[in-house]
Symmetry: C2
Subunit: 392 residues, 2 copies
């Protein structure tokens, strides 16, 4: 009788939102970046990917199911991750003949996000981090998260940062083979656990330019880009690490907003220009500026990825001052349910920026309240049963 | 009996729209720029300031009436222009005792624009050019336009370019006193008379940041700005002069759009960020890109000053291809009257950019059809009568 055993391992993995942005590849195949970046890992209570990896000699071929839909895994990026992980497993098997030859079995991977796909959040980071972490668990690899980050990076650049919790840096590295282009923990979530975020999810609008093609166009055509990667970002990386080490929110905020704007400036300087922010994004910026002005100090920092969603970081102690003005405008939207949102009063700013309220009401579909969180978490909750069937 | 003679001289002066942008002062008092710039002077049939300068020993004090409203002329900029012009006149008077001492008489200046003030067009350029030109005429100065440009620059930087027709460069200069920061003609309008422009005038929205304070904030805070002024613009200035010399529209257009985007990129990289373009501007850009895609070559180029108005340059031979798609969307707006607009058919693009039509219809209040034009033109049409009274 043929071996039909199904091997399984599951993990949760987090989303991360960069405060020093990744934009530009020096090697598109290996996802090697033109600059280092730094992110905050967000709590998996609010945003996470749940992935089960399994393998069995009974499976016919590799497969990936994401949110119930079968995915094409023939792409070079997914293949690179699977190849590297199998290679590490093979090394283990070669050194220990008691190990089953999992590296030779087809893989079945099932993945689910706990947040709406339409939200336009960078789900590929959590997705590839979860995929790599789940297979590494399945293969019982001894690799450190930093070692795995080298693999996850090849799936999606920013995925390498989702292998850690807290405050995470991705060093660009110098080697041509990308061996030193890896992520590491700058500080655990417990170092500065008061960090909070509200995400203003913009109403679905077709994204003009994918981040992959967008960043390559910037590298090729922006005359200002080289200054950003050569001088601006390296300096900010060091300043940001210091701000985090010292839990200095004002510096953290200044660097976060400046770096987001710098990144979008190089997008605008691309030929043809790339616009990820829109008038709704501008209204969110105006609100953050007004919230800080009202507080008389910097208590909120905005950042935008390759899309119009605003992520606003703030500290727990300023939750009411930051959230109440947004709630006054957006209380009819989803996302305020739950202890954090329900406990916040709705209170407009004494001087609300012109047209900000109407633009946000028209342009924002929901809010997500979250905070700094942990890295991938192993779980026994499996999305695949012992027979290899997907759990509905 | 006291001398009560009223001396008068009048001029028309044009608006200019830069294709290589002026943004940043190295000396705020003298309006000395951080980079050279280059503009196209627009036809005075469509946009002009009409100014009469007069002086008389009977006048009580210097005064300026703009579009019927009395203006404060005590500002350092206006005072610098008046002082410099009086000084030149004084030199003439000192060398020729037969000349009346006009330099000692109070000045009365009356000015009118033929375009709506609400249009948010850079009327200060035409305004100061007309003021300087009219007073120079009144004083019968022998100064060349380039010499006068040094004076107009102190009123409003870009005004120095409105002392010429056609294609005009403003060299930033090197001297601390600004003596070499002057404008000159790169090519007369007759060199490339086919240049046309449609201005999409955005609905009035309060400008967040004046260009004067905005450019100083950029100089101080943008980390990308130095690259723009040191390398990007000097290279583009030379390329733009070559494109104009060779009447190479594709190069002219590429440089124009890139430099507009570069300028706005440094605005976005300013802390706090400055946004002059909005979603309506983005829709105009999308339309220009679609018009070029539809033509299979570059026949239109957009540029934005410190506001959301789009200026789209094109050549006469492509008037229908460029204007018809805009007319299909904006035919209900003012500005299509007159031979040029009326003769254009309204014809939508085969593939109109998503939401462009609705955004333009909501965001654009009127269009202005214009073309490259001449420099200041002396006129006998006086806005002040022989008694010193304003002509209604």
């Amino acid at each position: 009788m043929a071996d039909t055993k199904v091997y399984r391992a599951s993990t949760f993995a987090p989303v991360n939102i960069a405060v020093i942005k990744y934009w530009g590849k020096r090697d598109a195949k290996l996802n090697l970046p033109t600059n280092s970046s730094l992110s905050v890992t967000l709590s998996q209570d609010d945003l996470r990917t749940h992935t089960t990896a399994s393998c069995s000699p009974a499976y016919q071929s590799d497969s990936l199911l994401l949110n119930g839909a079968s995915q094409d895994i023939s792409g070079a990026r997914t293949q690179a991750c699977l190849r590297e992980l199998r290679s590490l497993r093979k090394t283990l098997e070669d050194s220990d003949s008691s190990l089953s030859p999992l590296s030779t079995y087809p893989l079945e991977i099932v993945s689910q996000n706990n947040f709406p796909t339409a939200a336009g959040l960078a789900s590929s980071a959590a997705g590839f981090a979860a995929l790599v972490r789940a297979i590494a668990n399945l293969y019982q690899l001894k690799s450190t998260p930093t070692e795995l980050s080298r693999i996850a990076r090849q799936g999606s650049g920013s995925a390498c940062r989702s292998l850690f919790g807290g405050y995470v840096a991705w060093e660009m590295g110098k080697e041509e083979d990308g061996s030193d282009s890896v992520a590491y923990e700058v500080a655990p979530a417990s170092h500065w656990p008061e960090m909070r975020a509200i995400i203003l999810v913009a109403s679905a609008e077709k994204k003009d330019v994918s981040s992959t093609s967008g960043m390559q166009a910037t590298v090729k055509t922006s005359t200002l880009f080289n200054e950003r990667i050569t001088n601006t970002v390296p300096k900010r990386m060091e300043e940001m690490k210091k701000a985090i080490a010292e839990r200095d929110f004002a510096s953290f905020a200044a660097l976060t907003t400046k770096d987001s704007n710098s990144f979008h400036a190089t997008c605008l300087d691309t030929d043809p220009p790339i616009f990820y922010m829109n008038d709704t994004s501008r209204a969110a910026i105006a609100m953050v500026e007004a919230i800080n002005a009202n507080a008389g100090k910097t208590i909120a920092a905005y950042t935008f990825d390759a899309g119009p969603n605003a992520v606003v970081y703030y500290l727990a102690e300023h939750e009411t001052s930051v959230l109440a003005p947004f709630k006054a405008i957006l209380q009819a939207k989803d996302g305020w349910e739950g202890a954090r949102g329900q406990s916040v009063t709705s209170s407009p700013l004494p001087a609300e920026p012109e047209v900000a309220a109407s633009r946000l009401r028209n342009g924002i579909s929901r809010v997500i309240l979250t905070s700094v969180g942990e890295g991938p978490i192993k779980t026994d909750e499996s999305l695949i049963d012992e027979l290899g069937e997907t759990v509905a």
